[in-house]
Symmetry: C3
Subunit: 265 residues, 3 copies
């Protein structure tokens, strides 16, 4: 796979300090032709799970060869390893703490490398800002075409986190809310494949919080303004939304709350 000059950034650095700027400066010092794209810097501080979920939803839209850098790194400076993951489509750079748990497609070939070759780091790297001192410059060198194996030895065992799995039976799916987006849409862990399988057996009803929905809509506007609905969202999961409103505020539901979809009897 050819490398790309595109480098994306997903961090919990926020945008009020100069952290992101410093990291971009280092990347551009190594490769002035790098094309840096922000995915987000607003991951809640230290929330590795949210970073992993956000990266899953956006990384696949980028061209083959893109270098995805993710720095949500509460263990910076400890023994957690700085890592390069090389999949069939992309490069991923960040701490080995689970942040890349959702980016590998089923059956996709993956190579992982620990970043140990300090000639590709700022010297000496700080113990608190590896985004600037390790991941940034390595991203720059990678975008110049340095081979993944040059940065350090292969890693054979990476840290994984997992999405809570829905419980699927012949007549129902029990899931939960795993993410709330900026519009207040409630994203669940109930995937399209499970939903389609259940719906081939009959009409379904959905119970979540105090409401029951008897339909899966195609778009928000199929219900009246201010009314709740369920639909398959752009991330590939079932979502609960309110047409032109905020489901999170209106329904009082939060991350972790249960949702059940079952065949109507």
């Amino acid at each position: 796979m050819a490398h790309s000059r595109i480098i994306t950034l997903t961090t919990d650095f926020g945008t009020q300090d100069g952290f992101v700027g410093a990291m971009k400066g280092v990347i551009l010092s190594v490769n002035p032709k790098a094309l840096i794209v922000d995915i987000t810097h607003e991951i809640e501080a230290h929330d590795v799970y949210s970073a992993a979920f956000t990266l899953r939803n956006s990384c696949r839209s980028f061209p083959k060869g893109t270098i995805h850098l993710a720095v949500v790194d509460p263990g910076v400076g400890s023994r957690r390893k700085p890592m390069l993951l090389h999949t069939e489509r992309y490069f991923f750079l960040g701490p080995d703490n689970g942040v890349f748990s959702f980016v590998v497609e089923e059956g996709e070939k993956v190579n992982a490398f620990e970043l140990t070759e300090s000639k590709y780091f700022l010297t000496p790297p700080s113990h608190t800002f590896h985004g600037r001192d390790i991941f940034g410059p390595v991203a720059g060198y990678l975008s110049l075409g340095i081979d993944p194996g040059e940065f350090g030895p292969e890693l054979h065992d990476c840290v994984k986190i997992s999405l809570p799995s829905p419980i699927v039976s012949k007549s129902k799916i029990e899931g939960q809310i795993i993410h709330i987006d900026r519009f207040g849409n409630l994203i669940t862990n109930i995937d399209a494949v499970s939903v389609d399988a259940l719906r081939t057996r009959g009409d379904v009803r959905i119970d979540v919080g105090s409401i029951t929905l008897k339909n899966i809509a195609h778009s928000y506007s199929e219900v009246d303004e201010g009314s709740p609905l369920a639909l398959m969202g752009s991330s590939g999961f079932l979502e609960i939304a309110v047409n032109r409103g905020n489901a999170h505020e209106k329904l009082g539901l939060k991350r972790g709350d249960r949702i059940r979809m079952e065949l109507m009897s």
Copy 2:
């Protein structure tokens, strides 16, 4: 008009989810040489009016041929049409919901097209994220030089929203506050032409909330720190500000509040 490789983005997507990143990934997948510039992603959710006003204030600073993409789209997936507007200076891409109401100059020639040619879309497009699935890729193709007429048939009737007009007479102008910026400056709908016309007839006074101003200043520092003033703002409208302070907080005024400028007797 030659197309440009510059694509600007104005959305209500926020920056904490990966929506903006996904959209940029799609654009760069179509045209890796596109130059993407964020105008803002902090439009309040579903606030088409604010998006239209923000776009008006910033789009004109860009070079001829720039592609302006605006996705504030509460009706996504409904019958509202995805649209391409082609003016003498720019291309505008977004939903036909009024978001481009303030970008056409008086007398400027405009062609509008409905986006129907699905070969330029991600397939199949989702019903909830046309920024990624329709507007993003079309922006990419447009920046590659595809002719506007290739994307679909001409549209002869677009949705328009309007700014509230001030009431102008020989001796006074009655207007209102239409926008509050991040500094707390209160932007009114009273335009420079009306103000100049009134001032040729004599000295004016301005009444807004509980204060009266007897002058139009040239810069904030013409009054003492913490004092209110009126001046012609960078958007071309009369603004009420507080020198080194926040007029919105200090004066307790909000969007929709009345302002009157009249000749002093």
Copy 3:
């Protein structure tokens, strides 16, 4: 020094209005090949000191020749001068109000110029938005290779602000908290040189607020989760942090609070 096509932006414009977009549009109208990098637009309104500190921490990561634009400009339109600072490594563009006080290295040669040549401005410049009308276009021309001396006469006396100095004696250092970052880390004005000098004389203890620390850690994870620690931060100053937590919230400390490091007796 050769100019670069990289232009960084540090402002208090926020990201919800179109101010940043308009400024970028103007820069790209002058030089479509400019590479614009946001450092931050979230400086608190009118807070020149924070802008100066943020710029100090991030500007040095950029390649030689980078043009750093900083517009935190409460005196816009008054007699404060628009300025270009030319150091051995960088160009700095912004108001002469102290915002560049911390960017010049000790002993570095500096030339300053007042921006007076209006052919490089938007005409006529507004009195309230010099970022768009003066600094933006001048940055564009500078990135095209226009000589610094072309923009106006040399300036021999610039406004300076200073960081509060720590009080250093043989047995102790008395400093204060000068910045709080998005993670809640408390950055002090106690620099590495002073700390190293004191530590060559013996073990130290640190008193801040109600806590005492008897060690300077190398990384956050050297203490238990939720425990406070002191370490030398990525900005080169002593920081007080909480491992995987927020020191600002947990310890109830704020900007200006005192900190003392002294030899243990």
